[in-house]
Subunit: 349 residues, 2 copies
């Protein structure tokens, strides 16, 4: 028998809008008590009972936020969800629902959308959130994804950006900078591929960095860990645009200054060695890289003992009065003003 | 003094993402009790107390859902909001919050985004909803708007698509078809303009149709009117894709059939005369036109007296057993199967 080597391509227009939604969403199960009605009516119906609801939304555009040359669609779907959930976790809340809207140009066959939704479904399953609504439509160019994430929390558990106090300790989860260096590795491979498509890349030395870029996880676990430690953060934000940018948000909204210590920044060994390979200063990337989806928060000084030595957390500095400014204290013990050089989706090329 | 005739054009990249959000959202006031925290943190915080929350989302793409050749940006912003709120009202709920995400290519100056947000702000004010979040970014092509609308209702007030019973009456608010004919008028004017840009269009005979297309209102008032009449609809949906399509949704989800009477369809006199001018069958347009943002609902037969003669409502038919099918009963008293020829955002050109 002769095998058909052409990949299957089903035109999405064959299904129509309602057929497409039904096809893509039929595997979604409702798992949260707060979801009374998911997809299938004019609106979803939710019941937060005596809890507060939190809502965050993001718009992702091909060519601006992602490059399908090295971002597999399934990974993209997964990342689109986790990036949004990260905002919910940054409120110290539990993520419970998402809506997912997708627009695609007609160069995308149904099978591509299925891949994207496979990633979305996997993330929804891993993070235990219900997909309660969405929209599918065509675009004039490229792939567009819009996700709204919803969560719930008791009022007293919620953590805002503006609650930090002077002398609070500044804490970051996990390690930082790796997602950005993963992107640099992938960009380099893309260029190599363009020159020689037959070149087989050896990415063994970059697996952690690439995973941080292509399949980032959101810190669903932190709320529970902090609760078990009996720590209520005073302020919190997620690290999507880079540590510097987020430190400045916390400082601005809490009307405080801050000292961040260079030698306290949590860096993965693979990150450090690849920065050396690329001849890039690791501190600059750790401060400005973005897309880490770790959490940055402040705690009262007296909570230090509870967190000390915990592998999930690094104390990287402390808050100060606003008049003292926002500084990085270098390894050489000089103070330099912290600047946000984070990623800007609006910058002109 | 020499006047500068060049319209002001400020590049959005000058402001950066955070500056842009701050600039565009600074006029938003919080008016709903359920909004505890709006824009400015990782997520908004809402308190629905003992009510249920309803959530709906839409994605609007330039060139697919709207044409900026005849859709002024302020109207577009207004319509993007009302179209979404319509889904909340179709649950018999009160709309309370929206999130607004916008992506624009660099051909849009800041002033264009300000116009768009002026329309969004106006709609938010008119409909008393709080803008609680959003995202602004650049696009590769054109303008993209994603809105998530949120509302609240007591559990017993909520109306789903699947609650209709056989013998229930089918009711529609306002009149239908006008928005579609408004679009036809605008398309014709666009073509005239392309041939002769100096031609001044005389649109006096089309004002109602054009307003229905460019500045549609959502039926915020219906919930209160029905409550005052002591009518609880058994099922409800909003008319965005065309009456036929929505009738079929109600039938399918309630597992029923339906008879719709041609002579009962509520048509505006201007709509009828312009259909004649365009030599188009008005019933076909009324059934399939779309974008009316009226509400279609079913009520118990015994509620007929409460609604009879009310100018807000037209009883256009009644539900039947599923086995009887879904039909239009024509003026000539023949029964023809109703088909959904409504607008499909995924169809190939």
């Amino acid at each position: 028998m002769i095998e058909d080597k052409t990949p299957q391509r089903t035109s999405i227009s064959q299904l129509g809008e309602f057929g497409l939604i039904e096809h893509l969403t039929k595997h979604f199960e409702i798992k949260n008590e707060s979801t009374l009605k998911g997809i299938g009516d004019d609106a979803a119906v939710l019941d937060f009972s005596n809890k507060k609801a939190v809502v965050s939304t993001d718009l992702l555009i091909e060519g601006v936020h992602f490059d399908l040359a090295y971002m597999p669609l399934k990974h993209l779907g997964y990342k689109a969800v986790t990036a949004n959930l990260s905002d919910i976790y940054a409120m110290n809340a539990k993520a419970t629902q998402i809506t997912v809207s997708v627009a695609v140009s007609n160069r995308f066959p149904l099978e591509a959308l299925e891949e994207l939704f496979a990633g979305i479904t996997l993330a929804a399953k891993e993070y235990n959130v219900d997909v309660i609504g969405g929209d599918t439509t065509s675009s004039q160019k490229g792939l567009i994804i819009s996700i709204t994430a919803i969560g719930e929390a008791n009022a007293e558990e919620l953590v805002y950006r503006n609650g930090a106090n002077p002398t609070d300790l500044l804490v970051v989860t996990g390690d930082i900078g790796a997602a950005y260096m993963g992107l640099q590795v992938l960009e380099r491979e893309k260029q190599v591929f363009q020159v020689n498509p037959n070149n087989q890349p050896d990415l063994d030395n970059y697996t952690y960095l690439i995973e941080r870029q292509l399949k980032p996880e959101a810190r669903k676990d932190i709320q529970g860990i902090l609760k078990a430690l009996e720590i209520q953060p005073t302020s919190m934000i997620d690290i999507s645009d880079g540590l510097s940018s987020e430190v400045m948000h916390l400082c601005k909204q809490s009307a405080l200054g801050c000292n961040v210590y260079e030698d306290k920044l949590p860096l993965d060994p693979q990150f450090i060695s690849v920065c050396e390979e690329f001849n890039i200063d690791s501190t600059t990337i750790a401060l400005n890289g973005g897309e880490d989806y770790e959490l940055l928060f402040t705690i009262k000084m007296e909570d230090f003992d509870k967190i000390k030595g915990n592998p999930n957390f690094s104390v990287i500095g402390h808050m100060t009065q606003a008049s003292e400014g926002i500084h990085l204290v270098t390894r050489a013990n000089t103070k330099i003003a912290l600047k946000a050089r984070g990623w800007n989706a609006l910058q002109e090329e």
